[in-house]
Amino acid sequence: MKGNGRIIEYALSTLARRKFKNFSIAVVFSALIAVLSSILFLTHAYKTETLKLLDNSPEIILQNMSGGRHELIPTEYIKTLSGIAGVGQITPRYWGYYYDSLTSANYTLMAVDENMRDIQLIDGRMPQTDTECAVGRGVADLRQAGLKDDFFLITGAELSVNLKIVGIFTANSAILTNDLVVMTKDSLIKFFNMPADKATDITVEVNNPAEVSMVARKIRRAFPNSRPILKNELIRTYDNIFNWRGGIVLTMFFGAIAAFMIFVWDKATGINAQERREIGILKAIGWETADVLTLKFWEGAVVATGSFLTGLILAYVHVFYFNAQFLAPVLKGWSVLFPRFQPMPYIDIYQIFVLFFLTVVPYVAASVVPSWKAAISDPDAVMR
């Protein structure tokens, strides 16, 4: 082993001898990295999960617009739509929002349709008669209801409907189904008092993905008041929303990063008498300023790498084993019914790279000048 290798070795022994001095930096640094990585990991997990769900959604969702607002769509559109070349399956969807004053939460009410029957994520089964329903995990928990229990929904038009829970969506699909109440089309139409010839929106499958925008344009021409929403646009929008949320939270942490830099600067500047003496001795016995800088570099590198890995592992455990309990409310949004979802563990090099840039780079930058100040001490200082 030659020069540099021995300096690394010596750096390690120095750190070992001064465990406690470096401990405070390592703890603060690890904590900062743990928080930042939790944010990034969680945002990324939500994003991936959401985008994965969107993968199964139809190519085009057609909404009707009136006065700039989303309106019910006449089902007679379907006839015209099926005449457009390239259009595959067309399905009207019936759904709406319901505010439950009992639990102060918003539910999404949805009519069961053919596509849904394929969903495997359910305990029990889908509703078959007008008095049955299936609910999401979150709804079931809020109402403290289980399979075969009664389920009331109160409305203005009719005083209440009384349904029997025949199915509960499993937690795996929570991000999609958590606030969901699925019932038959007839009971939904009755509940919302919707006109018989209208649906909430219409989904349109397109056989050839390359023709999606062309089909969308034809639809738009046929129904000038309609708004076709493409799956790709949804993906982009969600992607952007999650980026944005992650970015906002991160921006709030810039203060923390800056504070950390000051902390590092301060810690590194205030080297104690013993450390000063040691560097003086090294200089006196023939270490050059550059050698001491190398030593300081490796000391910093070890602390940074150690803290970085510790922080990453903490965040990983927090997000993927403890469901990010501390952060989830910030990132998921404003719904009372937080989806209780288990993010899939993953390791993404890009995320780690970003984290490295956000934490280690400021750390290094903050410690350059203090390290240099320590390294330039006079070699003959120990003789005075």
Binding site: Y10, I281, I285, G286, E288, T289, P379, D380
Partner: protein
Amino acid sequence: MDAIIRTEGVSKVFNAGLADEIKAISAVSIEISRGQITVLKGPSGSGKTTLLGLIGCMSRPTEGKIFVEGKDVAKLPERFLTDVRRKTFGFIFQHFNLIRGLTVMENVMLPLYPTDIDGGQMERRMEEILDKLDLTAKRAVRVEKLSGGQQQRVAIARAMINEPAVILADEPTAHLDTKLSEDFLNIVTSLNTEGKTIVIATHDPLIYEKPYIDNIIEMRDGAVKEAALL
């Protein structure tokens, strides 16, 4: 006589231009002969430690020339000054200046860490020196657990690890009793017989009254009062 080190009109001013300006030494011209034992004698504050530091390439003089092996080092940038120092000098400091928490071996090898010397060679040198100074049994002991005399021997071993031509000692007996001081002088004389040039800054008569001291340079108030070839 062949001079390994020669100074010409060397001055050193600390805090130049400031209120606490100190003229440590001024216009010192001396010669240190190769293979001899030279004593820089003088009371504290006479500038002998400053002079020792200057000829040992610890810092640069404010004025004057310093020739080490014929090369003027007075204007060398620190980087090259360190290089000359590493290759030519071994230092024994008044307060030993060992690094606590490190073992005898680590302390001794420390000067060689930043060099490109091969690890095996470094350890062979260390073993040899520890053996010579009777420290082999203590090799893995942390230096703060050693006695004063042992600590000084570690300091001597460290000064020898780079195989210097010149060994410089600053008040080496200041913290030692008579017996240990004699031990120190025995080690020094044996190094001298091996051909090393020795320079000792001291005001301890136990050292400068020894018959085998070759030269005495007496300093007072930052200047050479008398240089005697004994």
